[in-house]
Structure formats: structure tokens, C-alpha cells
């Protein structure tokens, strides 16, 4: 395999001296210098980097390559410019590979690399090439005026000449060159001002079991606050829908933490901020609803019979107009004095020194104890709510169970660092299966209601309006069919979650030790 190796140069690299020594050891042929330019892309949440991939645009070609070697693309396609979304790529392998990874996220330009490449062929006595060496002087530039230059040496072996490549590797090692471990996005961090992987939707909060709960809670909430902040710009600039989505998740997690971590903060503050975050959540409810409809436009179209396909267009045109309005409203809200004040106060509160005030009875409880008790209690609440559900139960019971699951999920995520990773992952996966079922059911339920509420708007108009109304009716029918399917899958999925193995694991990880003596002052969590 002609895998190339990239080497970092030693600190005191003397090019002339290096070339001289190389020429003394190997017959060489110098190639003409080549210039090379490429722009690298990824999503805001580093979906490609996390998967060990690079996406780079070079002249008219967009290439998906392994992180370590941009010269061995996995697939390529010809486009003049990199589109913002995967769906705008020409049909083909690259789009097929990219779509499930980046989904609806926008491709953002990370940095540009302009290189000069000086290639040397290493020859044998017949003047046959046995390996290539190339010195790449790269100038990396980011969005601002930041520049960073980085020089590396590449070694490309040739099939059937492994011994020569090995000898060159040894020569390079002796010259102080080391195989480079870092990828271009990592090298470019000074110009992109972003460390790869610095943002993730996954919550990662390092906590200690012995640390006081008040402190741990603040750590969790600070992470959530920074997630909100990180997404503000993307929402304002309307880059893709997921900035808002992630922002809302951070708000919801914050609200859930404030509600569930009882007694770690003084009552008055808890109440005030719960109200504030409830306001922040509501701010974007409608915008998110519209986003969801528009994201599913194609699926809706596919649900409709051929004859009605066009009928739904007026509805989506209307939704697009509404969305634009809502987006602007949200962008304004993010700059409003009320919003800024809330975040400022919240930040001040989170950064204030830990208090031991009597109004926060659980602030000093070890985090491990609080987390275990809370999670175990929520788990049992989920079991209880789920067990009561039969085929005849009203939809509202599924809704209630969904909320219980969400609380449990958030708790598991907040405190995951306290428990063995594999076991937590297993539990989260099981829970996610259940949540997906319940979430889908809720989605369909809400969508039916919303679709019906739009009927009014179109029923007044003659002609085209009628067709739209019929299309909406047809959609509501299709959604009903799916809803029933989802509901009928519920018992099986729940039974899996409520299995003996899962219960045992929950008990092992979270159940408080059988109390020898009751601890009256630590009740209530």
C-alpha cells in the first residue's frame, strides 16, 4: 500500500544541510516545485473530525479523506464550490457517505492551506524511482487575518520497494524527523481559533464523587451555559437549524437540573432562574417547530399520493415565510436587554463562591450520593409510569412517561463521569430506545394537531386552497397510521428497558446503601 507518512521536522532544521546529507546517501532527482491549495471543511460540532475524516476542496474537486492523509481520498466529486449542505452536493458516493454523518448540519470553512511542494524522487542504480520525499511548506489561514506556517516532510513508499522506504525512514529518524501524530485541523488550531472537538452536543462534565453537590451542580450548569453561548452566533446568522436545537437542549437541561437537583441552591435563586429559563425555552418554541416541519418537507411530500404532491406547497411556502419572521425575532431576542441580563446574572451566580447557606441543605452532600439517589428515584418513577400503561391507556400517560424518561436521561448525562463508561452507555442506549419510541409518538401527535390548526388558513381560499386542505387531510391520515404503529411497538420496547438485567444494573450503580440509620437532614433529594 502506498500509504504516505508525514514527518515533523526537528526544531533546528537546516534544509540545505538536510538535502546535502540526503543526496550523499541516495541518488535523487529533483522535481519542479508544485503549488497546491486546499480549503478544509467541517461542521460546527466536528462531525467529520470525530469520525476521523477530512473534507477538502481543491480546485474543482471536493474530497473526503482519512484524517491522517489527505492524499488518499475515500471518494471525490466535482463541484466548483463547496455547498453549505450535503443535500446540495451532486448525487454520488461522496454525498451518500457525507449525508448520514453531517445530516442537516452546515459545512463550515475551517481554514485554507496553501502549499509549496518540493518533491524528490529517490532512485536506484537504474534511475528507477523507489520512493518519493516531499517537503511541504504550508501556509494556513483562517477566517480572520491569522496566518500560520507549518513545514512537514512526506515519505511515500512505492510498492515492492519496502526496504528502500524503511531505509529512508531510518535516515529521517536519524535526522530528527518524527512521524507526525496531529492532523491538519489540529495544526491549524492557531488560525481557526478552535481546537478540534472543542464543541460537542454530548455533555462531558468531569465530576468527582466526593465533591460537594453545590459545586458539581455549578460545574454542570457552567458547561450548559457555555453551550448556549457557543450557539448564539449560529442562531443569529441562521447558519443551520442545529445551533438553535443545541441551544434549546442546553436550556432544557438547565431547567431540568434546576428542578431536579433539589436543595443544592437557595430556594429564592432556584425559583428565579427556573422562571428565567422557562422564558428562554419558550422564546424559540415556534421557531423550532417550524424548523422541524421544514426539515421534514421531503418526507411529507413522500407521504402524499402523487396527485396531491403540489397541494402541500402553499403550506410550506407559508411556513418558510413564518420561519423567516421567527428567526429574526429570535435573533433580536438574543440581543435584547432581558436576555443579556438573564445570562449575565446567571453567569455571576454560577461563578460566585460556593455557599453554605442554610437555605441550601444539600449543597454540601457528596455528589456521588446525590447523583445515585436522584437517578435511582427517577428510574423507579419511569418503571412505575411505564408499567401502568396498557393498550387502553390514554395518550396522556405516554406523554407523562416521556417526561419522566427525559428527566432520567438528563441526570444520567450530568453525572455520567462518576460511573463506569461502558455501563452508563448501555443504560443510556436502552433509555434512548424507549425515548425514541415515545418521542416519535409525541411528534406525530403534535404534528397532527398543528397540521389541522393550519387548515383554517387555507380553507377560506378557493381553488388551490382546497387542494391544500385535502393534502393536509391526507397527511394527518398517514401520520395516524404511523402513530398506531409506534404505539403498538411500545410494550416490547418498554419491556426491554424494564428487564431484570437493566434493573439490576441500575440498582448496582445507583441504589443507596440500605440505610442503617436514617439521615433526616439529607432527605428530599
Amino acid at each position: 500500500m502506498t500509504q504516505m507518512t508525514r514527518y515533523n521536522l526537528p526544531d533546528a532544521f537546516d534544509k540545505a544541510d538536510f538535502l546535502k546529507q540526503l543526496a550523499e546517501s541516495y541518488p535523487l532527482q529533483r522535481e519542479r516545485e508544485v503549488r497546491d491549495q486546499a480549503v478544509f471543511y467541517d461542521t460546527f460540532d466536528w462531525r467529520l473530525y470525530e469520525k476521523g475524516l477530512l473534507l477538502l476542496h481543491q480546485d474543482e474537486t471536493l474530497a473526503l479523506a482519512p484524517l491522517k492523509d489527505e492524499h488518499l481520498p475515500l471518494c471525490v466529486c466535482t463541484v466548483a464550490e463547496t455547498p453549505l449542505f450535503a443535500e446540495d452536493l451532486p448525487e454520488g458516493e461522496l454525498r451518500n457517505r457525507l449525508t448520514p454523518i453531517i445530516e442537516m448540519r452546515a459545512l463550515l470553512k475551517l481554514f485554507e492551506k496553501r502549499s509549496r511542494l518540493r518533491t524528490l524522487r529517490v532512485l536506484d542504480e537504474a534511475q528507477k524511482t523507489v520512493a518519493y520525499l516531499a517537503l511541504e511548506t504550508a501556509l494556513l489561514s483562517g477566517a480572520g487575518n491569522k496566518r500560520h506556517s507549518h513545514t512537514v516532510l512526506w515519505l511515500r513508499p512505492l510498492r515492492g520497494y519496502e526496504a528502500q522506504a524503511e531505509s529512508l525512514h531510518n535516515f529521517l529518524s536519524e535526522s530528527g524527523c518524527r512521524p507526525a501524530g496531529e492532523s491538519w485541523p489540529e495544526i491549524a488550531a492557531p488560525v481557526t481559533e478552535r481546537a478540534p472537538g472543542d464543541y460537542s452536543t454530548k455533555l462531558r462534565v468531569p465530576l468527582e464523587a466526593q465533591q460537594p453537590s453545590g459545586e458539581a451542580a455549578k460545574t454542570i450548569l457552567r458547561v450548559l451555559l457555555s453551550a448556549m453561548r457557543a450557539n448564539e452566533e449560529g442562531i443569529r446568522k441562521d447558519i443551520d437549524t442545529e445551533f438553535l436545537h443545541d441551544f434549546r437542549v442546553a436550556v432544557r437541561r438547565t431547567r431540568s437540573a434546576l428542578g431536579q437537583l433539589k436543595g443544592v441552591f437557595p430556594v429564592a435563586e432556584t425559583q428565579r432562574f427556573r422562571k428565567d429559563f422557562s422564558y428562554l425555552g419558550k422564546l424559540s418554541n415556534r421557531l423550532r417547530d417550524l424548523d422541524v416541519y421544514l426539515l421534514h418537507e421531503k418526507e411529507y411530500q413522500n407521504l402524499l399520493p402523487e396527485a396531491l404532491r403540489g397541494g402541500i406547497d402553499p403550506l410550506f411556502d407559508y411556513l418558510r415565510v413564518e420561519r423567516r419572521k421567527e428567526q429574526r425575532k429570535m435573533a433580536r431576542a438574543l440581543r435584547s436587554p432581558r436576555y443579556l441580563q438573564i445570562l449575565q446574572d446567571w453567569e455571576a451566580f454560577l461563578n460566585a463562591p460556593a455557599e453554605n447557606s442554610p437555605s441550601a441543605p444539600n449543597a454540601g452532600v457528596p455528589t456521588g450520593e446525590l447523583a445515585g439517589a436522584r437517578i435511582y428515584k427517577r428510574f423507579r418513577a419511569v418503571l412505575k409510569a411505564g408499567r401502568g400503561i396498557s393498550g387502553a391507556s390514554p395518550d396522556s400517560e405516554l406523554h407523562a412517561l416521556r417526561l419522566e424518561c427525559k428527566k432520567l436521561r438528563y441526570l444520567l448525562e450530568f453525572f455520567s463521569s462518576l460511573y463506569p463508561e461502558q455501563e452508563i452507555q448501555r443504560l443510556v442506549k436502552q433509555l434512548k430506545g424507549l425515548q425514541d419510541n415515545l418521542g416519535r409518538f409525541q411528534d406525530l401527535f403534535v404534528q397532527q394537531g398543528t397540521l389541522l390548526s393550519w387548515v383554517e388558513r387555507f380553507s377560506a381560499a378557493a381553488g388551490e386552497g382546497e387542494k391544500t386542505v385535502i393534502a393536509i387531510g391526507s397527511l394527518v391520515g398517514s401520520l395516524e397510521a404511523e402513530k398506531r404503529q409506534v404505539r403498538s411497538a411500545f410494550p416490547g420496547i418498554f419491556a426491554k428497558f424494564a428487564s431484570g438485567g437493566n434493573k439490576k444494573l441500575f440498582k448496582k450503580l445507583f441504589a443507596p446503601p440500605e440505610p442503617a440509620v436514617a439521615a433526616p437532614d439529607r432527605k428530599g433529594f
Binding site: 479523506a65 481520498p73 511542494l117 518533491t119
Partner: protein, 304 residues
């Protein structure tokens, strides 16, 4: 697939003495449009080292039992052009003289010998050599290949062995080009089995035409698929009346004669001095153009 978009041939001339191989280090393919040099990334070669391709490998043998008719010159140049067009290509030097290996500056030495070649598998993979040109690998010859017939004789399926052995490389290459020695032994019959296409160079002289007729007769007698055979004229000197007459004679009796005629050219003789394919050291020469045209014709036949 990328290589479908590359038009290296049409744009070659724009850039004078440009040699695609020079940039081999980084760029699998260069694409020249007017005066801009557009660098295309390498073809979709998955990290596993396998080619992503829809088509099964095509084996093209350049064969004639007559010696010195331009088989090796053709195999070398076509292999080079196939690789240039974006296809992963392997040229197999089956001739113990090792001329094709020589042209690619590779020592004619197949470590496992004739026996190893017929065993195939790891022996084959270990012996492959990367040439100086992107996407083009070579299976070097070995002096022991002169004993191929004897070695084949002892095997249970002596006439289909080569096809089976090459089959193990089917995922790695789009084209396998065989440079065959001038004989008509069991080894040659292996080639008749293994190859999807047989390119037969004919020098347009009376005796050469007669040998070609003998080859066709042999195919008929042994019931090989003569539709595999495509003839083309080699070392043509169109000033010679004899050449013109001979060509007319063949065409009146045999349908599958390619249009391209490889002229008798000093450039082709000079390959031995340069030890490079003609289009690599003299891209603008008529000889290079002739090979390009020949390859285009062959490619078209393969794809239809």
C-alpha cells in the same frame, strides 16, 4: 468516477514538455485545461487498498507467436496510457527476456520464479512493483519463466492456471495487460484462456500476414474464442506499396482490425534508451499520438 472526467489526452499538447509523472508524489492525476493546471485528487482508492469499481478487471494480452513485431512496445505504451486515463493498471511481463521490465527500469526478477508465479496468491502480491507512473504496477519477468511450459505440464489444469492466478488481483486493478513471449505453447494457451482481449500486432508484410492466418487457424482448430482477437498494424511504413497491399488483403478477410496504425518510428526505437514509454518522454510525437489513438480504440471496444 473521477477518471471518467479526466481528459488527459486531449489536453496534452497544451503544455509542451509536461510529463505527468513528474508530479507523481502527490497527485494521482493532472488535468490541463487551456493554460490552467487543475489538480484532481487521486482516484477513489479506498483505504483498504482496493479500488472502488463497478467493472470486473479486464485482461488484455498483447500476443503473437511471431517475434519482434512490436508486442512489448505496445504493451508498455498501452499500460502507461491506461494508468494515465485514471485506471489502476498492472502490466505483467511474461517474457523471460524481461523487455517490459527493462523499459520500466525494474530488474527482471520474480523472486518466487515460474513455480511461484503459478502458485499465485502471496507470491504474486509480493513481487508486484510500483512503476514511476501513478496507478501503474508491474509484475516483473524472471528468467525462469522460460520453463513455464514444463511447470504447467505437471499441474492438474495446465491451461487455465494463469487465469486463476491473475484472478486474485481482480479487485485491485481495472486493467491487466500481458506482454507475451513469442511462442504458441501451453503457456500461450493459458493466455488465450485468461485474456478477455487479444491484441495482435501485424507488420504488413506477406510473411507476417501468413503468420496471422496461422494463428486464426490455430484458434479455430482448438476452438478458442476467435472474437477475442483484435489485430492492428505495427511498424507501418505507408510509403511502401507492399505494406498498403498487405493491409488491404487482411482487411478483406478479417473484420476485427483496429483503425489505428502504429507507424514505424524512431521514437519507438528510442524507448530502450530512455527506458520510458513514448508518451512519457515524447508526448507530442506522432508515435505517442498513435498509441493514444490505439488505446482509445481499445478502451472503446472494452466498454461496449
Amino acid at each position: 468516477m473521477l477518471r471518467r472526467t479526466a481528459k488527459v489526452f486531449e489536453t496534452f499538447e497544451v503544455y509542451g514538455g509536461w510529463q505527468p509523472s513528474c508530479y507523481g508524489m502527490f497527485i494521482e492525476q493532472k488535468h490541463i485545461c487551456n493554460t490552467t493546471l487543475i489538480i484532481l485528487a487521486s482516484p477513489p482508492r479506498a483505504g483498504t487498498g482496493r479500488v472502488d469499481k463497478e467493472e470486473p478487471v479486464k485482461i488484455i494480452a498483447v500476443y503473437h507467436f511471431k517475434g519482434g513485431v512490436g508486442k512489448t512496445a505496445t504493451a508498455v505504451n498501452l499500460a502507461y496510457l491506461a494508468a494515465q486515463s485514471g485506471a489502476r493498471t498492472l502490466i505483467c511481463d511474461l517474457d523471460p527476456q524481461g523487455s517490459a521490465s527493462f523499459y520500466f527500469r525494474v530488474k527482471a526478477e520474480f523472486v518466487a520464479g515460474a513455480k511461484g508465479l503459478l502458485k499465485g496468491g502471496g507470491n504474486l502480491e509480493k513481487s508486484l512493483k510500483g512503476t514511476d507512473y501513478q496507478r501503474l504496477d508491474l509484475l516483473p519477468a524472471d528468467f525462469s519463466f522460460r520453463n513455464l511450459d514444463r511447470k504447467l505440464d505437471g499441474l492438474d489444469s495446465p491451461k487455465t492456471r494463469l487465469g486463476k492466478v491473475l484472478g486474485s488481483l481482480r479487485d485491485e486493478y481495472e486493467y491487466i495487460i500481458l506482454d507475451c513471449p513469442p511462442n504458441i505453447t501451453i503457456a500461450a494457451e493459458n493466455v488465450f484462456h485468461a485474456a478477455d482481449f487479444l491484441l495482435v500486432p501485424i507488420i504488413p508484410t506477406t510473411l507476417a500476414v501468413r503468420s496471422f492466418a496461422q494463428l486464426l487457424l490455430f484458434f479455430k482448430k482448438k476452438r478458442y474464442d476467435h472474437k477475442k482477437i483484435f489485430a492492428f498494424y505495427s511498424m507501418v511504413e505507408s510509403r511502401k506499396l507492399l505494406h498498403r497491399e498487405s493491409m488491404a488483403f487482411v482487411e478483406s478477410r478479417f473484420k476485427r482490425v483496429l483503425h489505428t496504425r502504429i507507424p514505424y518510428a524512431a521514437e519507438i526505437e528510442r524507448m530502450g534508451m530512455h527506458r520510458q514509454p513514448v508518451p512519457a518522454f515524447s508526448p507530442n510525437s506522432p508515435a505517442a499520438a498513435a498509441y493514444r489513438s490505439l488505446w482509445e480504440e481499445v478502451e472503446k471496444i472494452i466498454k461496449t
